[in-house]
Symmetry: C2
Subunit: 204 residues, 2 copies
DNA sequence: AGATTTAGTTAGTATTAGCTTACACAAACT
DNA sequence: AGTTTGTGTAAGCTAATACTAACTAAATCT
């Protein structure tokens, strides 16, 4: 029988390019023509890999989320291997404070958030934020359980609330970056300080 | 001489309709046709009031921001008139916790945040967030200065950081609403708890 | 009334968007 | 070799979008 199907590989090859195009351009300006050009293929090809433009966008959301999760997982693994270097929550927070927004991932979330009347986009976003806050929440719980130091006990917001708040603070950093209102140093302080504050209510 | 120019009045009349259209539909789906239909006029007319679609969008951003500020101002005035009922910061927080997102204002900010490669849109956003965080910051300072109760002093994040964090938490509430991941009650808790926490580090 | 500017209506244009068709070539199999 | 399926290239199609032009009617003035 005939030549083998390389669709999956091709999709994997173009996915990062498509995702970064959506990140940089937003949904509207990431025209199918622009996407194809960046991929160095004809528009045609993209339509053999994904049903339509929206599918390319949704796939980009999933892809970028999973990239982030892989990154986090290495930090979680590192924390497990070497507990003395801080909890996973602390490491993620520190990493995020230093690199928040570097990937431009947040830009795609803004694009998605203004396309939420589409059920597929909304579903992808929901998936993403649900998993994100879930992971953050369990990391916060893990941190509060295992970390020494002055706990503020009952006064602390619940882990679920704190998780959403942490996510919000990170988003604020993104907005500060996007508008040019917050320098890299200030963004770092924002994520680190407010994040730590929400994590355990202590000044570090 | 000839008939008087009603341009300003007409603009003021249509502005809320245009703004709500952008809020509901996002930039992309708020076509000039759709905008005109909602306004009950021909597209033509809109182009006599604003230079182009982008100008309508930017005007909407400014308009919605100013609406919010007027709302806040009444709370600030009320706090000044009756200090016993809580500081302005507390009132704004409480109000926001209860009504966050009702206006759909946040939807336009998401749309704007994915159009930031346009200098005019970026400038409008920058203006908006700059004023917002400025007001929040001064309210936080006012609160910390005047409020009684257990202060956590040096451990608190600076007012500027706290202002951005509060804004972020509010945005997280918007995301939770938009994705359907946070119920009204949970959003309220999020804004109230995390907000209060960031405001003064006390459990209320 | 007549001049002059605004307001409303209708129609239209140029471009571009997303998406498809058609066809030649390449690679795997029997 | 021949068949079959996958891949690449080129062109094109339809619908919609942002934006304009042309014209009529209505106000306000002298």
């Amino acid at each position: 029988m005939p030549r083998p199907n390389r669709t999956k590989e091709k999709r994997a090859e173009l996915m990062p390019i498509v995702a970064s195009a959506f990140s940089e351009l937003g949904y509207r300006k990431a025209t199918t023509k622009a996407l194809a050009e960046r991929c160095g293929v004809q528009e045609n090809i993209l339509y053999r890999l994904w049903a339509d433009k929206k599918a390319m966008f949704v796939a980009s959301i999933d892809y970028l989320f999973e990239s982030t999760m892989r990154q986090w997982q290495t930090l979680i693994d590192a924390a497990e291997a070497d507990p003395a270097g801080g909890t996973a929550a602390e490491r993620i927070l520190a990493y995020d404070a230093a690199h928040r927004g570097d990937s431009g991932f947040y830009r795609i979330t803004f694009a998605a958030l203004s396309e939420t009347d589409d059920p597929d986009v909304r579903a992808a976003l929901k998936r993403m934020y649900s998993k994100f806050t879930g992971v953050i929440e369990s990391q916060i719980e893990g941190h509060r359980g295992h970390a020494a130091g002055p706990s503020r006990g009952g006064e602390l917001p619940g882990a679920a609330v704190a998780a959403w708040a942490v996510l919000g603070v990170a988003t604020a950093a993104d907005i500060g970056r996007e508008t040019g209102l917050l320098s890299a140093a200030k963004r770092k302080r924002l994520v680190a300080e407010a994040g730590r504050w929400l994590l355990e209510g202590a000044g570090g």
